[in-house]
Amino acid sequence: MTPTEIRTTYLEELVAIAPDLDADTVGDNDHIQTDLALDSMDVLNLVTALHDRLGVNIPEGDYPQIATVALAVDYLGRMIALKSKG
């Protein structure tokens, strides 16, 4: 899965949770809680959706690593690569 595909998936799920957001205007370094005002329920729903879509089970301790688009693309890319290596 390419970084672009991961980015698209992440943004699709983010906008599904917060429909008032526009995927085109979400900045790479916008923090989902402090900048985009997601609450803990929204974050859990995002993590759940990413688990379903990408097969990556993000532990609670790693939530900070998906807190922006840039961080998430990097983190999810590494986790998907790890998974495919078995």
């Binding site: 917060a18 429909p19 008032d20 809680q33 005002a37 609450d39 803990s40 329920m41 859990l44 729903n45 993590v47 759940t48 688990h51 089970n57 993000i58 532990p59 609670e60």
Partner: protein
């Protein structure tokens, strides 16, 4: 049109989900209405067969206006007068008979020997041949107002449909919140009790519970709060119910949850029958309620049957909240955001995550002792989460 809150005067019928001839069972969702608080699904309070949809989609209807006619499954033996023209016991639906009569009569009720109605409503009722006694008033104190009479009048000709309100109108929601909270501050003699306690046992419990679990099975701290509030409401039934002409305790705990909507606004739907739910079920119910609140798909029972509400500020932010009670409830538990503070544990001062909870209670039904009992039970449950 059922009342969906003390602040509601009318709503626009957005969609019928049944047709004449359909069989419905009490609790079925039969229609969707647009209110100041967004779209609400209307559940039917009778079982039977839909014979007529009297309200048209797109029309604004005052609280109490008939929406549809349902032929009951059996003759209503309790009908006091012979209704020779009625083929069966026909009941206007969705009158919310068991919901607390929000926006209903003030203490004192009807003026002696008369029907509360505005002068304009009386004149119009006479002109249209409408029986005021048959109407449910939507005005102050349940008085029949002009709009009630006009809604009840046989429509002379199809009127041009009002433009249908779509989605959530934040200005309207702000008005609804203002009305409900003004009523609360006008009628309820609030008092507040606060206590701060160490949240570490709950946080540790949550971390251990969630470790290794897939996201769908994880718990949020808010689920612990809700479960503990349900336990406290069971232990202190004096604060779980509704105040109408006096306090009516509830057998069930329909725990209300204040949900902030993106872009502004607030709704406080209830998790019905939460006393029978374990922690996982509370979490699932809360997830469902929050997602439907944000999607505008709450049900009327969830909007009207809450018995005690919890409002939590989330993970970061202010440390305490002294809230306003949602009438006709008599208590609201305000939960601040956890804060890192110096705390005394076994004689040593050490940094701890602490939580401040503030109970708003109604002095018409309780005093400080009862409210303190609620807080004590809540804190003891959150502090020993394995008991939840």
């Amino acid at each position: 049109m059922p009342s969906l809150g003390s602040d509601m005067e009318s709503a626009v019928l957005a969609e019928w989900l049944v047709q004449p001839g359909d069989t419905v069972t009490r609790g079925d969702v039969i229609a969707v209405v647009e209110t100041q608080k967004g779209a609400i699904e209307i559940e039917v309070y009778e079982s039977g067969t839909v014979t007529e949809l009297t309200a048209r989609v797109g029309t604004e209807l005052p609280v109490g206006a008939p929406l549809a006619v349902i032929a009951a499954e059996r003759e209503d033996a309790a009908e006091p007068e012979g209704k020779s023209q009625a083929p069966a016991a026909e009941t206007p639906v969705a009158k919310a008979p068991e919901a607390p009569p929000m926006g209903g009569l003030p203490p004192g009720g009807l003026p002696p020997g008369g029907i509360a109605a505005s002068p304009a409503a009386r004149v119009r009722a006479q002109a249209l041949g409408v029986d005021l006694a048959a109407l449910t008033g939507s005005g102050p104190g349940g008085a029949v107002v002009l709009a009630d009479v006009e809604a009840a009048a046989p429509a002379p000709a199809p009127e041009p449909e009002k433009p249908r309100r779509r989605g959530l109108d934040l200005d309207e929601m702000r008005k609804a919140i203002a009305n409900a909270m003004s009523r609360a501050n006008r009628e309820i003699p609030h008092f507040h009790l606060s206590q701060t306690f160490d949240l570490t046992p709950a946080a540790d419990f949550l971390t251990a519970h969630n470790a290794g679990k897939p996201p769908a099975e994880r718990l949020l701290m808010a689920a612990l709060y809700l479960r503990a509030a349900v336990g406290a409401a069971r232990a202190v039934p004096e604060l779980n119910g509704w105040y109408e002409d006096g306090f009516r305790p509830s057998d069930t705990v329909n725990i209300g949850l204040a949900v902030a909507l993106r872009g502004g606004g607030l709704v406080a739907p209830a998790l019905i029958g939460a006393e029978a739910m374990d922690l996982a079920q509370i979490m699932a119910g809360m997830r469902d309620l929050v997602s439907r609140a944000r999607a505008g798909r709450l049900r009327n029972s969830e909007m009207t049957q809450g018995t005690l509400t919890v409002s939590a500020l989330g993970e970061t932010g202010p440390e305490a909240m002294a809230g306003v009670i949602f009438p006709p409830q008599v208590a609201l538990l305000g939960i601040g955001a956890p804060q890192l503070r110096p705390w005394v544990v076994d004689g040593q001062v050490i940094p701890r995550q602490v939580l401040t909870v503030t109970l708003a209670a109604d002095h018409r039904v309780a005093d400080g002792r009862i409210a303190a009992g609620f807080l004590t039970e809540f804190i003891s449950l959150v502090s020993a989460p394995e008991r939840l």
